[in-house]
């Protein structure tokens, strides 16, 4: 209950180029999730800055941060984080409700997004009626519904078997390559990161300990930086 200050991330400086697929690697407690939350605008740094598209997230108001999350970032989580009381279609269109998109347009966009992840047949099912892989696919559909530039994935395969995990990672890679989304993925599985990411960043105890590019995957680079 004390106000002990924990330095989850300390002095990390990194730049991510637009269109890059970056993996944040580290053991639990290394601060990789905290870095992701800072980029996602879910958390604010006590000092320093997080610049996305030339805007410093640390300077934004709560309202501006929520708009940033709505339009610039798509997120997937280890535990899927779908709303249990809603069908897949409703879950997928939820961000569009906050963006005040018209209902008719919402329905067609949600169907399109679910079709992209191969779930159009399950759109009226609730998350509890689906397998983990299907839920994560629905979460991916939700993450791209507002056409964000940035996809943030927090251990997206952590709750899945390797086969389903591969399916999900293929989709993430597809979004990166075909839609040009910048992907920042947190994982503790080095093999997974090496297979998909163009760049591997290692964290330990909130500090950056390594930054190496990965030759296995190639992608186009564009302007834009993230520097937590």
């Amino acid at each position: 209950m004390g106000e002990t200050l924990i330095r989850a991330v300390d002095g990390v400086t990194l730049t991510v180029r637009a269109g890059e697929f970056v993996a944040l690697l580290g053991s639990s407690g290394s601060g990789k999730s905290s870095v992701l939350n800072l980029i996602a605008g879910l958390d604010r740094p006590t000092s320093g800055s997080v610049v996305v598209n030339e805007r410093d997230l640390a300077q934004l108001s709560r309202e501006e941060l929520s708009r940033y999350r709505l339009h610039t970032v798509g997120m997937v989580f280890q535990s899927f984080n779908l709303i249990a009381s809603m069908t897949l279609a409703e879950n997928v269109e939820l961000p569009m409700r906050f963006a005040e998109v018209d209902r008719g347009k919402r329905d067609s966009l949600a169907q399109e997004a679910l079709a992209r992840v191969g779930l159009q047949a399950r759109m009226n099912h609730r998350p509890s009626e689906l397998s983990g892989g299907e839920q994560q696919r629905a979460a991916l559909a939700r993450a791209l519904i507002n056409r964000p530039k940035l996809l943030l994935a927090d251990e997206p395969t952590g709750n899945l078997d390797s086969h389903t995990g591969t399916e999900i990672m293929n989709l993430v890679s597809e979004f990166n390559q075909q839609l040009g989304m910048t992907v920042v993925m947190v994982t503790h599985e080095r093999a997974l990161a090496e297979r998909y990411a163009q760049r591997l960043i290692f964290l330990a105890d909130g500090k950056l300990i390594g930054d190496e590019s990965n030759s296995t995957a190639a992608a186009t680079s564009r302007a834009g930086r993230e520097r937590p």
Binding site: N37, L42, E63, S79, N81, S85, L94, P95
Partner: protein
């Protein structure tokens, strides 16, 4: 978030924990019902009282007296205005003048005198008053045994219950005042009463020296016609009715126990107590009245008429002055009933707060997800507000219906009781439309107020924290 989306999400969330939200909504509806029930009881009682007063003929009547008359009501406000000596005489001319004031339905002289009535050759002394034909609609004569006067000039009489008892030699025992009027009326109806009275008779002007001296002192020549003689007369009256209620309750101890038709009573030229005093001023051919009752067309205009009469230089008194305090009483009653009714709503208020705070705990993760995918603090706040508001509206509608039903049941139950006690049924329960609107609005606002704290708390929830817990 747009309003339709917000509403849909809110209703969906309410359905998710159906039992808890239903119970909370029932709590609101009970609160609203008790408020509606209490207030409609207050309003209904007030309407009943006004209706009663209206029908009693008191509510639309202004009693006018001359300021120099002893018979004024001696209230403080009467003492302002012209001095008694300057006040005008209340005679036939002024009666007609008053009758032609705007909003006045009729102005009739208040004829009342104490005299002896003989029934079965036994004398009975009582106050007799004259009633205009319009008194037929008076509440007191609604349940009269027998009938009202056949015409305004008929030699007929209606007895007040107490006098009927006296005639029959039945002295009511204190505490047991429940003699049936029907039993009293049966032996009396159609019987004859003999009234002995003193008639004031205009006579030829033969002034005594005494009066002449007075005249010279006053210097007023018109007084020459003010002499009259008093003749003892007899009048047979047929008893046509016995009234249960007292139509003259306003007059207190001066109230009459026998009533005659107005025109008939006027034609008798009964010597009035005030005649002795007015003799020095009035012209002999014009009757002078001790007081005139003015009936207004609409009770709402009673104040204007009262003011107009006062401007003419007379004393005016209406039950409106008394009814003001009655209205005040009902205002206070309404406030008290409202407070009691609101207590249940206050409990419901706490219920809403509790339900929504529980919902935040339960939906912590959901709130975190919504924020992660781009919901603003405002969106989350609005969602909780919408849920509180929806419960408020649903509870309000159910509550108004419930309150109305409770009212109907109590009304019906009371009327069954009234009927068993052989009273006419009464409608003392009233749910006016403004009360329905007020209750719905109130319930909505109370619910929104209850949502204030939970909504703020939900909006401030840290998404990182909310998503961390499984």
């Amino acid at each position: 978030m747009k309003l339709p989306d917000l509403t849909e999400l809110a209703l969906r969330n309410l359905r998710e924990s159906l039992l808890r939200n239903s119970l909370t909504t029932i709590g609101i509806s009970v609160g609203v019902a008790s408020l509606v029930a209490m207030l409609s009881l207050g309003i209904g009682l007030q309407q009943l009282a006004s209706r009663r007063l209206m029908k009693s003929g008191l509510f639309d009547t202004v009693v006018v007296t001359s300021r120099r008359d002893l018979r004024n009501f001696n209230r403080d406000e009467e003492r302002s205005g012209p001095a008694p000596a300057e006040s005008r005489i209340l005679d036939e001319a002024t009666r007609q003048e008053i009758e032609h004031l705007p909003n006045v339905a009729e102005a009739y002289p208040d004829i009342r005198f104490i005299t002896e009535l003989r029934y079965d050759d036994k004398p009975h002394l009582t106050t007799i008053a004259a009633l205009p034909a319009s008194a037929k609609s008076n509440d007191a004569f609604e349940s009269v045994q027998g009938r009202f006067f056949s015409s305004d000039t008929a030699p007929e009489a209606i007895l007040q219950k107490a006098f009927a008892e006296e005639l029959l030699g039945k002295t009511p025992k204190p505490g047991i005042d429940e003699t049936n009027v029907k039993d009293l009326a049966a032996p009396l109806l159609g019987k004859e009463l003999t009234m002995h009275y003193a008639q004031r008779d205009a006579t030829a002007n033969t002034l005594s020296a005494d009066a002449g001296a007075k005249n010279a002192a006053g210097g007023d020549a018109s007084l020459a016609g003010a002499a009259y003689s008093v003749v003892s007369r007899e009048q047979k009256l047929k008893i046509v009715g016995v009234a249960d209620l007292d139509p003259e309750s306003m007059r207190g101890p001066a109230r009459a126990r026998v009533f005659l038709p107005l025109k008939m009573a006027e034609s008798l030229h009964v010597m009035q107590p005030t005649d002795l005093r007015e003799i020095s001023r009035a012209a002999s051919d014009q009757p002078v009245y001790s007081s005139v009752s003015v009936r207004v067309k609409n009770p709402s205009q009673i104040q204007q008429v009262e003011d107009a009469v006062k401007k003419m230089g007379f004393n005016a008194f209406s039950i409106l002055d008394a009814s003001k305090s009655i209205q005040q009483f009902f205002k206070v009653l309404d406030v008290f009933l409202g407070i009691f009714g609101s207590l249940a709503l206050a409990v419901a208020f706490i219920g809403i707060v509790n339900t929504l705070v529980m919902a935040i705990l339960e939906r912590r993760r959901e709130i975190g997800i919504m924020k992660a995918v781009g919901a603003s603090d405002g969106d989350v706040k609005k969602l909780f507000f919408a849920e509180a508001g929806a419960m408020g509206i649903l509870g309000g509608v159910a509550g108004v219906a419930l309150g109305w039903a409770i009212g109907q049941v109590i009304n019906a139950g009371t009327n069954i009781y009234l009927k068993s006690q052989s009273f006419p049924p009464e409608h003392f329960w009233s749910v006016p439309w403004w009360l329905v609107g007020f209750a719905l609005l109130f319930s909505f606002l109370v619910s929104l107020a209850a949502g204030l704290y939970p909504a703020g708390r939900a909006a401030r929830l840290d998404p990182v924290q909310a998503l961390r817990y499984e």
